[in-house]
């Protein structure tokens, strides 16, 4: 058992790290002769709030759809129908191997236009879900593979039906393994949603770009934008930590 360091030592270290980081940024600003002034941002508070909400909505909607897509792709990969299995594997490989920005342009302007998807919010959620779904499929596949085969044989031996095996054994074991990774993926979705600004969805990044065209305070605007994203992802990482602890409590043998 590692002894936790003394409170005094801890607080000194926190202060030191803060001084180093803030000092570094401050000196950098001095070197380029820039004085930060956030006061102009106040006037845009309503639009920023709208953008903040839009980012959360896009991220939440994409989380749900990408979970569905990821589960289907993870299952399809293991399918005995080769067409399905190949399709899932190629989907995961291509999506994970190309930049989100390219995918957004491709799916929005080519596929979206060809098939008449002209609601950009719907398109945004679908494209982001398609992207994140490939990562979630890999998380789920890894989780399934990490479950010991003995657990399934045991389920058979005690006379569980396949449906009950899934509900009582596979699902809880899988969740315990992948929940931390899934919440981490949610933080990625929040950040990745910033790229949806290129198809003019009024989320935080798009709003910030519009504000910048109005007040010319680029540094301050993007600094603040980063802070807002950090608030969201930090909240998610707190949840992750909580879930990890819950998981450990039940199964420290991993």
């Amino acid at each position: 058992m590692k002894k936790s360091p003394a409170l005094f030592y801890k607080s000194i270290s926190v202060v030191l790290v803060t001084v180093i980081l803030v000092g570094f940024v401050w000196i950098s600003l001095v070197r380029i002769n820039h004085r930060l002034d956030f006061s102009t941002l106040w006037a845009y508070k309503y639009r920023l709030w709208q953008g903040f909400k839009m980012t959360l909505i896009m991220a939440f909607a994409s989380l749900l759809v990408s979970l569905l897509l990821g589960s289907v792709a993870a299952m399809a990969q293991k399918s005995r129908f080769l067409v399905l299995s190949y399709l899932a594997k190629i989907y995961i490989q291509i999506i994970r191997g190309t930049p989100l920005l390219v995918q957004i342009f491709f799916f929005f302007y080519i596929i979206g236009t060809a098939w008449g998807v002209d609601n950009r919010y719907l398109a945004g959620v679908l494209i982001l879900s398609l992207f994140e779904g490939a990562y979630i499929a890999e998380i789920i596949r890894g989780g399934l593979e990490s479950i010991d085969e003995s657990q399934f044989e045991l389920a058979k031996a005690v006379g569980l039906t396949p449906a009950k095996t899934f509900r009582l054994v596979t699902f809880p074991l899988l969740m315990a393994r992948i929940l931390p990774a899934l919440t981490g993926q949610f933080a990625s979705i929040i950040k990745d949603s910033s790229l949806l600004s290129v198809i003019a969805i009024p989320e935080l990044t798009q709003i910030t770009q519009e504000i910048s065209a109005d007040n010319y305070r680029l540094f301050e605007n993007y600094f603040f934008l980063g802070l807002l994203y950090f608030v969201m992802t930090f909240a998610v990482s707190l949840i992750t930590r909580h879930l990890e602890r819950m998981y450990k409590h039940e199964n420290s043998a991993g």
Binding site: A157, V158, G159, L160
Partner: protein
Amino acid sequence: MKIVLDKICKSFAGKTVLKNVCYEDDFNALAVIGPSGAGKSTLLRIIGGLLPPTSGDLYLDGIKVSFSEKELLAHRRTIGFVFQTKGLFEHLTALENVMLPLIHSFQLDKAEAAERARELFARFGLEEEGHKYPHQLSGGQQQRIQIARAMAIKPKLLLLDEPTSALDPELTAEVLDMLGELQAGGLKTIIVTHEMGFAKKACEKVVFVADGTVVESGDSRQIFTEPQTKALQAFLNKVLEWQP
């Protein structure tokens, strides 16, 4: 219990594990012995309905076991199975492990299941362990809880796959004592084991499996004192070499 194995074969991806296993006997406690990799565990899984044979038939008390998935479910519910290791659900406590089959395979309500599980834990001296998760339990405790789980469903036959091979001698004795007590109480068992002492004393019948087939079988007294085949003689010489 009467058992008939009629020309049972099993292969995995072209590799033959069991070939033409034939055996017929009436037993209370049957020990399956033989060298590692001979197919003992595979044979036990076929009897327990966990694996279908590639060909051949299995009869228990004169009734042919059907290996269609639907009927296997019913077959498995009449049998208790104890695994070599990792035989408990890792996300459930010891008590929940015993209760789960009662509730979900036997439709008992939760209170009844908890009652029956607690009775068994008390009987086997496991009261302290009820709320622990498998990783918090010793190997011996895990095996005894597995046996308790198998007993909870009042099986017509208990199958054990090397239940003590991962345990040290003290824990082995703990598990075998429990098993001996159950056998004395009339429970029908088939055990795959490397514990020759247990096979000799606690099981009245023995089957010797080598190279994927039954080489010799009979009363345990006779098997251990007058082995007929060369293979069994060689096997016994080897495993009994360091026995007191």
